[in-house]
């Protein structure tokens, strides 16, 4: 079947099997491999991306269900090569090690900050509780999100501050 959606601002159309999962559509059909495949059961969150502004786990969404919708992945976060505030926060606070959970964490953190620009630690922990990380013990991820909340303009603000 033919599926058309907008991904990171570009309209894409592909002919795929109706059963194709969104995560495989994004990775294999579009070559956007920043979105990862980690568990198949919506538990780990490495496949988190945005559909119409909502953070969703793309391993349990059919590509067809995203037809006509607006999808955003980690590849669309940095603008003109510059890291955004959340990405910069992860860099500053060492919020990543192997990097495998990182795209999903970033998409979830951005989703949180869109809704709550100044979340406290508990709110951050709850927001990322559907994204597993085996490397960081979460501490520095929480700090990374706080950094982003405190520096909404990202690295530019740090330089000017």
């Amino acid at each position: 079947m033919q599926v058309t959606m907008t991904v990171n601002g570009d309209e894409v159309t592909r002919d795929v099997e109706p059963r194709m999962l969104l995560v495989h559509f994004i990775r294999d059909e579009l070559g956007l491999t920043g979105t990862h495949w980690g568990c198949d059961t919506s538990n780990c969150g490495t496949c988190t991306l945005w559909v119409d502004g909502e953070a969703v786990k793309s391993c349990t969404v059919l590509a067809a269900m995203a037809g006509g919708r607006d999808v955003h992945t980690v590849e669309g976060v940095a603008q003109n090569g510059e890291l955004d505030a959340v990405q910069q926060g992860f860099l500053e606070e060492h919020g990543l090690q192997c990097g495998f959970c990182t795209p999903g964490m970033i998409m979830t953190a951005k989703w949180l900050l869109e809704r709550d620009p100044d979340p406290d630690e508990g709110t951050i922990r709850e927001a990322i509780s559907g994204n597993l990380c085996r490397c960081t013990g979460y501490e520095n991820i929480v700090r990374a999100v706080r950094w982003a909340a405190e520096h909404p303009a990202g690295a530019d603000e740090e330089v000017s501050a």
Partner: protein, 799 residues
């Protein structure tokens, strides 16, 4: 040079040790890492593995005709196919064999039976459903304690002469002397405990992309490996492929934790698939396959006994272990030590005598054994001793901190040889424990706990409070070639450093990062030694065609071994730079003095050459002394003289709901001593991750089995990993005791917290409940049953 003296580069980085952002983050943050599943080659096909639904069954027949008729299927490979190639069985890392695709029997649920190669991953999975396997189910050995019963089914009847399920009996220490000490002791406490089967479960599962070029005969394999060079050699030995025609590329790895040390049947199948089809073949396991078939960890049934005087002087420790190794002995550890480094179980204390016996058995479970950030079974050892010390404290009515402080090795006892033969390099244990107690506010916590218990007994609260301690000593940096090899391969690490004419550098490592930040840390080592800014140093790793030989990253060995190689190779370059600088300055090398990044003439500090100027001169027409070659390159192979011994003191504070059995970790204080810290930010991150592992294992993680051998932990809905909600905000501290024999004094830290933290959490929960024993994971159900005095066996879904 101390970290405070390190100059800063133009980009704001320390030219040496110190906190700096990671170089690798630029790609990871943008989603531009290249993990194995991100590798796509022209014409690439996809493989999938058919797995056994039975724990133990004879294979009567396999009918692949329907799968082969599938229009998108290119090949179906069975054990019979592999037998024709001599590849149906492969050696494990422990001198055993493991079935690649089963020919005679399946020996665990999830065992590999057939491999399908198809045009895409969905078709490959579809075709698995079309393979008809006729199984004859056999009784399964699920309970390790029954594996040696006379009537137990023999799992490894493929091994000639095999009549039981015993793998080995191994001991260390002096049993006779230990018996004497125990006979004369005032107090002896004996406790059974289980370190259950758990799984490293890195976020990225295991997989490979194999591409055999039929023209050149070269095999290139992108694969999730922590040890690319060791894998290449094993492929050469097993498959008979010439080693120079094999390139193993370990690209970005999404976490390893030991899960990616061994060679899995899927890797071999992807290679065979590529040979058979003439196309590149990708195999990527799903999460259920990862949890059910790849290397598990622990599964040690331990009975410990500790002997002491009435006043709490520890005199002896002994332990009997029943080790469940699953269907094949697939553990990875130095040949001489079948139970890994478990005989470091005496931990951080002084003894008159100690003895351990480890008996390993086959069961109908997945193979593996040494994995999950364990430093070769030091995790089990530390858990044993730290639980036994708490049992003794309970018996004596002593505070566990006081008992530990009384018995910890003293600084003047180092180097210290343990009763089982380890030579600890350096340590100041009391200082670390005091620091942890200071950070925790130990006395205040005990006072708060007493008040909480009073309130509980008065019926004012359901919440009990527990304080748990753990003091660990690890032996890492395997290992000295006089003692250690894996399958005959010594455990040294090579390193190559090349300084380009403009003073930029490239260092090539034999170890492979799975998130530890080698691209940053190793640049900082070179920066520290040579004064070249870290941003000017490229770190190459994870590609056997482009790096020197070495055994890889596990057992916290990268910095202790490869880090030493990086220091040595840098010093060789520095020595040569001195000769070249002397030629340029027309003086004797002896007349030169080094300051960070520059040689200058003694007494004439303005008259000197920077390392960048020397690099250019080394490539130019400067006349060099006779016998000195141009350029500024060096190589080194580092054979560690001994292991390094990081240590630390951990304190955990838990709140336990006596009504529901729910445990909440309120605080965790971790004081680690891993010697000097090259990048304190990265070191702290390593510790954080390990602490989360400890909370996970203590409270949530277990791979259990039902009586038929069905794996009950085969998805993240069943195998629970700690999330941000279970982890507290970690409180870390440090002491610094350099290793006397490491060129940088560093000791390694990758596994310290995973090794040290589980006992602290368990001790805290048991302290809250005032009971002596309950086994991990301390789920609400387990805690509840322990409180009722009827503990569960956590490894089996039976009473």
């Amino acid at each position: 040079m101390t970290t405070t003296e390190v100059p800063t580069s133009a980009e704001g980085n320390p030219i040496g040790f110190g906190r700096m952002h990671r170089k690798e983050d630029a790609r990871f943050l943008r989603g531009q890492g290249t993990y194995v599943d991100d590798v796509t080659l022209p014409g690439m096909l996809h493989g999938a593995i058919l797995r056994s639904p039975f724990a133990h069954a004879r294979i009567v027949n396999i009918d692949t005709s329907a799968a082969e008729a599938h229009p998108r299927v290119r090949a179906v490979i069975t054990g019979e196919t592999l037998e024709g190639l001599g590849l149906a069985w492969m050696p494990t890392l422990s001198q055993d064999t493991q079935s690649v695709l089963a020919t005679d029997k399946v020996r665990f649920q999830g065992a590999e039976v057939a491999f399908v190669v198809a045009d895409d991953r969905y078709a490959a999975r579809d075709a698995l459903e079309l393979i008809d396997v006729d199984y004859e189910p056999l009784d399964a050995v699920v309970d390790a304690k029954k594996a040696l019963d006379p009537d137990a089914p023999v799992i490894r009847d493929d091994l000639e002469g095999r009549e039981d399920n015993k793998i080995y009996d191994w001991e260390a220490g002096d049993a006779e002397h230990c018996a004497e000490v125990f006979d004369q002791a005032d107090v002896v406490v004996t406790q059974e405990m289980l370190y259950p089967r758990v799984h490293p479960a890195p976020m990225e599962t295991c997989g490979s992309v194999a591409s055999m070029d039929p023209v050149s005969g070269k095999l290139t394999i992108w694969t999730t490996t922590q040890a690319p060079h060791a894998h290449r050699t094993l492929y050469a030995l097993v498959a008979g492929l010439p080693e120079h025609k094999i390139q193993v590329i370990s690209p970005d790895i999404g976490g390893g934790f030991g899960n990616k040390v061994g060679i899995y049947p899927g890797y071999v199948c992807s290679i065979v698939g590529s040979i058979v089809t003439g196309k590149p073949v990708k195999w990527m396991e799903d999460r259920a396959e990862n949890l059910m078939s790849t290397s598990f960890a622990r599964d040690y049934h331990m009975t410990g006994s500790i002997a002491a005087t009435k006043d709490g002087t520890i005199q002896g420790l002994k332990v009997d272990v029943l080790a469940d190794h699953g269907a094949f002995n697939g553990v990875a550890q130095p040949t001489k030590f079948p139970a890994g480094f478990f005989h470091i179980f005496t931990g951080s204390y002084d003894y008159d005598a100690a003895h351990c016996n480890v008996r390993a058995v086959y069961t109908n479970k997945a193979p593996g054994g040494v994995a999950y950030a364990c430093s070769f079974r030091v995790t089990e050892a530390v858990y044993l001793v730290e639980r036994m010390v708490d049992c003794l404290a309970d018996e004596l009515g002593m505070d566990p901190a006081e008992l530990r402080m009384k018995n910890l090795l003293r600084p003047e006892q180092f180097p210290y040889t343990t009763p089982t033969g380890w030579e600890y390099d350096s340590g100041d244990y009391p200082r670390a424990l005091k620091e942890a107690m200071r950070l925790a506010g130990y006395d205040e916590l005990r006072a708060e706990q007493a008040e909480r218990r009073r309130a509980f007994e008065a019926g004012e609260t359901n919440q009990l409070m527990g304080i748990g301690l753990s003091f660990f000593t690890e032996g890492v940096g395997a290992g000295p070639r006089k003692h250690m090899d894996i399958l005959g391969l010594g455990m040294a690490d090579g390193c190559e450093l090349r300084i380009h004419p403009t003073g930029k550098a490239v260092i090539r490592l034999s170890v492979q990062s799975q998130g530890q930040g080698h691209e940053t840390t190793f640049a900082q080592i070179v920066a520290q030694e040579l004064g070249i800014p870290p941003e000017d140093i490229d770190v190459v790793h994870g590609d056997t065609d482009n790096t020197p030989f070495g055994l890889g990253t596990y057992g916290s060995r990268s910095t202790p071994v490869s880090g030493a190689a990086a220091a040595v190779v840098s010093r060789r370059v520095k020595d040569k730079s001195r000769i070249i600088a002397a030629a340029a300055l027309e003086c004797s090398p002896d007349d030169l003095e080094w300051e960070h990044g520059r040689w200058f003439v003694k007494g004439d500090p303005d008259n000197g050459k920077t390392i960048q100027e020397i690099a250019f001169a080394s490539h130019g027409n400067l006349e060099l002394p006779e016998g000195v070659e141009g350029h500024l390159d060096a190589t080194a192979v580092y054979d560690p003289p001994e292991l390094t011994y990081p240590f630390g003191a951990y304190i955990c504070v838990t709140d336990v709901d006596a009504g529901t059995g729910e445990v909440k970790v309120r605080r965790f204080i971790a004081v680690d001593d891993c010697g000097p810290r090259i990048n304190p930010m990265i070191v702290e991150g390593q510790i954080h991750g390990g602490l989360a592992d400890g909370v996970g294992m203590a409270l949530m993680e277990v791979i259990a089995f039902d009586p038929e051998g069905n794996n009950l932990g085969g998805s993240f809905m069943d195998y629970l990993l700690p999330t941000s909600m279970e982890c507290p905000s970690w409180e870390t501290g440090e002491t610094v005791t350099p290793s006397p024999h490491h060129p940088l004094g560093v000791k390694g830290v990758g596994e310290s917290a995973t090794v040290g933290s589980p006992a602290a959490v368990v001790n805290a929960v048991l302290d809250a409940l005032q009971i002596r024993s309950a086994d991990m994971p301390l789920t609400p159900a387990v805690v509840w049953r322990a409180m009722q005095g009827s503990p569960l066996r956590n490894d089996l879904a039976i009473e």
